[in-house]
């Protein structure tokens, strides 16, 4: 194979949380990108994939390791690499034309040339007639088109896209994707390669030649797959579905499972600082009900769940993870299977469900158990949420710690394990004895 355009060598990135703790977000990333490739980085939210993208662009420095762009190490924002943002990142006080011109202005080009090239880019990306509009006058899809025009007008070698379609509705996103593929396939740009981050398996399969599946906590490369389908790709094609299935299986199999494939009864065990999934009890119950319905007989293919509940993996995986933590269901090889405990829970009435949930919560979620024990030991059965927050901050970033605590509080309130006063931040036992 030819020389790689981008090469990542042992990239590691950690952020500081609190005073002493370091949180590792990217671990040992090695990756090569070649001429003519569209590569997707696929992972759950918070797996560090956006951070990786910024490291490639030279916008963030890795803690260790190096990035090579056409053989030269990158330090600082790299010319020739353009980026498109999930949030569009347009300057709200500049018109479409001024936004697009910005990169050319930074290159110091004369006004005439800037104008000409920008108008051409605006034309190419389908923004004709909106040159003098301000971003706020445009819909999300049009704003992202400005993002693309701004990135492409400088004739980049590599295009990086950070979840470029996830802030858009489905139709708008599809439309933009096909326009982009069109530009790429007809070689209307000077791009040698495109790298994009996504949390949608379908999107990755639709566009990419290669899919890099990411692990979370810390982010690392799980596997690197080729997508051997011809363009245009359709998600009605059974081969498309096979590819989706293959990735689902990969993403739901724990790495250690691969070594002991027969041991299907092994459940996950978590510690007190575990990054609990953001799942609501009602959603989880809904998923269990679907699983337990007569037509599914307790076992479903995950892509099918995602389809029938119209969830993407960022919504679905937290639910399956909670089910696994509580041992209400088991996920393996792209399928989810209800357990005896799960069946007992879902077939119980509302009060009985709460009782069962509280038993399992105490048994399998150490954080919930810890909060409960602290409250029970306290003479007045009360505690401030800050106490638990500072405990969690030893394991997680500040915002994640808050998220995890509010998640466990929601579960605990549902289970009537403890009560919570939002205004004072005081946790207390539901029924002090």
């Amino acid at each position: 194979m030819s020389e790689p355009i981008i090469e990542l060598v042992n990239i590691q990135k950690s952020f500081r949380t609190g005073d002493r703790q370091e949180l590792l977000v990217l671990n040992n990333i090695n990756l090569k990108m070649y001429e003519g490739e569209i590569v997707a980085i696929l992972g759950k939210s918070g797996s560090g994939k956006s951070t990786l993208m910024r490291i490639i662009a030279g916008l963030i420095e890795p803690t260790s390791g190096s990035v090579f762009y056409r053989g030269k190490p990158i330090s600082g924002p790299a010319r020739g690499i353009s980026m498109v943002f999930q949030t569009f990142a347009l300057l709200p006080w500049l018109t479409v034309l001024q936004n697009v011109e910005l990169g050319l202005e930074a290159m110091g080009l004369p006004r005439e040339e800037r104008r000409e090239r920008s108008l051409k880019a605006i034309d190419m990306i389908g923004l004709d007639g909106f040159e003098s509009a301000l971003p706020r006058e445009l819909s999300g899809g049009m704003r992202q088109r400005v993002g693309f025009a701004r990135a492409l007008v400088v004739n980049p070698d590599i295009l990086l896209m950070d979840e470029p379609f996830s802030a858009l509705d489905v139709l708008t996103a599809d439309n933009l994707k096909s326009d982009l593929l069109n530009l790429w396939q007809e070689k209307k740009t000077k791009l040698s390669s495109i790298l994009f981050v996504t949390h949608s398996i379908d999107e990755a399969i639709e566009i990419a030649d290669r899919v890099i599946v990411f692990n979370s906590n810390p982010g690392s490369i799980r596997s690197d797959l080729r997508v051997p389908l011809p363009f245009p790709r359709s998600n009605l094609d059974p081969r498309f579905h096979n590819q989706v299935d293959r990735i689902y299986t990969l993403m739901t199999t724990q790495p250690q499972d691969e070594k002991m494939k027969d041991d299907v009864t092994k459940f996950m065990v978590i510690d007190i600082g575990y990054r609990l999934p953001e799942a609501s009890v009602s959603e989880v119950t809904g998923l269990l009900e679907l699983l337990n319905s007569p037509e599914h007989q307790g076992r479903i293919d995950l892509p099918e769940v995602a389809d029938s509940l119209s969830l993407n993996i960022d919504d679905l995986f937290p639910l399956t993870e909670l089910l696994e933590i509580l041992r209400y269901a088991k996920v393996s090889k792209g399928d989810i299977t209800i357990t005896e405990a799960g069946r007992e829970f879902v077939e119980a009435d509302i009060l009985e469900r709460k009782k069962l949930f509280s038993v399992y919560l105490k048994k399998y979620v150490p954080l919930a158990r810890y909060i409960y024990d602290m409250l029970e030991r306290h003479p007045r059965h009360r505690a401030l949420e800050e106490n638990f927050l500072s405990l969690l901050e030893d394991y997680l970033s500040e915002s994640e710690a808050e998220r995890v605590l509010s998640t466990v509080i929601e579960w605990g309130r549902y289970a009537e394990l403890f009560a919570y006063d939002y205004n004072s931040g005081v946790l207390s036992l539901e029924n002090p004895r």
Partner: protein, 243 residues
């Protein structure tokens, strides 16, 4: 309700009393003189805001873009903002007397000692609110130097800066009453300005002149707010606010 009526009656009564006292005691030439003094103080406030902005906007942006610096700078600036200006009188008076400097110019900085921090606070807050993606998008496009200031940083902080500048200007007007006259021991320095006028007649206990001075100051502040700050504020809200 009852209190509203009482207050209104008190206000109207005081107004009539003062107006009567003013018509009796104040000549037209004095009125023009007081307006002239007001314009001098206006010029002072304007120059101070310009100078402070030139100093504090770049520093504030620098601090605001660095979260660790912001954490250190905020409490320090808060303490400085609470520091009373008249504690500086001895130094300033000795300085001016020793070097035979003109009080019209060298007393002026006292007016802004406390108020300048509002500009710094707000600019720091504004800069720390700039979305990371915008900064990174600019970096990615190679936007640097003056282009970065003019296209990204200054517009981003503009609404915050305006809020700070309005507050600082208000504070400077207020402080002119104590800052245009400074005494320490036997030395007394007086600058030409509306603040000094008000201060002088307040000390003498002369109602009509004091009321005239405060009235002119009130009207000037109101006019400047309407004609300068208000339009800038509207511009900030409409054009430069992040969504």
């Amino acid at each position: 309700m009852v209190w509203d009526v009482v207050f209104i009656l008190m206000g109207v009564g005081a107004g009539i009393f003062l107006l009567a006292a003013m018509i009796e005691n104040i000549s037209l030439s004095e009125l023009l003189y007081v307006i002239w003094l007001g314009l001098i103080t206006t010029l002072r406030v304007f120059i101070l805001i310009v100078i402070c902005s030139v100093i504090w906007v770049p520093i504030g942006v620098w601090i605001g873009l660095r979260p660790s610096a912001t954490l250190i700078a905020q409490p320090i600036a808060q303490i400085l903002a609470a520091f009373p200006a008249n504690l500086f009188y001895p130094f300033i008076v000795i300085f001016i007397v020793t070097y035979h400097l003109h009080p019209d110019i060298w007393l002026t900085p006292l007016m802004i000692l406390g108020a300048q921090w509002y500009i710094l606070f707000n600019v720091v807050a504004g800069a720390s609110q700039i979305p990371k993606d915008l900064l990174q998008a600019a970096d990615n496009l190679g936007v640097s130097g003056w282009l970065r200031w003019s296209r990204l940083l200054l517009p981003s902080i503009f609404p915050y800066y305006i809020t700070g500048a309005i507050t600082a200007a208000g504070g400077a007007w207020n402080a002119s009453i104590v800052a245009e006259v400074a005494d320490w021991g036997n030395e007394k320095l007086v600058a030409t300005g509306l603040g000094a006028y008000i201060s002088e007649y307040t000390t003498k206990g002369m109602f009509a002149q004091t009321a005239l001075g405060i009235g002119v100051m009130g009207i000037l502040v109101l006019l400047i707010n309407r004609l300068v700050w208000r339009p800038l504020y509207v511009l900030a809200e409409n054009k430069y606010l992040m969504e």
